[in-house]
Symmetry: C2
Subunit: 162 residues, 2 copies
């Protein structure tokens, strides 16, 4: 049995106690951009219930073109107004450089990715970088409530980057 099959069995239990459907637009008008890290249970960390916030996640919780696409759709079509960014301690993105990662791929596959891996060496600085990328983008509408945090994987706490 694959892990996927095991998780599908979990889904059957989830569906038994499920009450839906909820409305499409997020009830709390918030979009979260967080790292994909397995230790970040975003609904748990923020005490979110189903239906309350958009959750966008990727390696690092960084803002690239695809996060701008998601945020533009979130704000323009589905009414979100606040943005919460979450990076975290002990992040994998702190453990390599773009050059290393891409050279390794090139060596193995023969092709060097045209994209940036978005590795970083300073958590707070990268949270600020992500905020600046949103602020500088013309397609995101609401920019007065953007706040960034570093989640501490040892304590479960969000620490704000100021």
């Amino acid at each position: 049995m694959s892990v996927t099959d095991e998780l599908l069995a979990n889904n059957a239990a989830y569906a038994e106690n499920f009450s839906g459907p909820l409305p499409l637009p997020p009830a709390k008008h918030v979009a979260v951009v967080a790292c994909m890290d397995a230790r970040l249970n975003v609904y748990g960390i923020l005490g979110l219930n189903e239906g309350e916030a958009h959750v966008i996640r990727n390696a690092g919780g960084v803002v690239t073109e695809d996060e701008i696409r998601s945020l533009a759709i979130s704000q323009r079509l589905l009414g979100t107004k606040e943005i919460i960014l979450i990076h975290h301690t002990d992040c994998g993105m702190l453990t390599f450089t773009d050059d290393q990662f891409k050279a390794g791929i090139q060596e193995e596959v023969g092709i060097k990715p045209t994209w940036s891996a978005e590795a970083f060496s300073d958590l707070d600085a990268d949270v600020r970088q992500s905020i600046e990328r949103i602020k500088a983008n013309p397609f995101v509408v609401h920019k007065d409530q953007i706040r960034g945090f570093v989640f501490d994987v040892a304590t479960g706490k969000l620490n704000e980057v100021v």
Copy 2:
């Protein structure tokens, strides 16, 4: 008080009962790519615990360059081997076209995005499209366990796309 402040108060309660830190690599060696939709509590839907799976999310749960970046990092650096894709019923991406969305932005802001909005008209077909994009990409290593699902927001069930 902003919604963000309210969610930070929730985080204080989460941290009180938190036990960490867990290891960095996902214990179940799985990466999930799901829509950002507020009704998709991915940890709940799959019965995941903290530390078990990477969770990548965006508007639609589609696979673009940034999801390839995240999956490449997930598999190459952090040992995941299975991929689960989750789209869902009543998705916002079914309600507009790329052309409409981008023309609307151009009219308001004066600039037309260079990126695709990734709207779609058929859920199953777009799940298959996302799987094909992963399979065709040279930077993702493990491709023999990629499965796609449509989450039903009325019942809480995952229905596999075959």
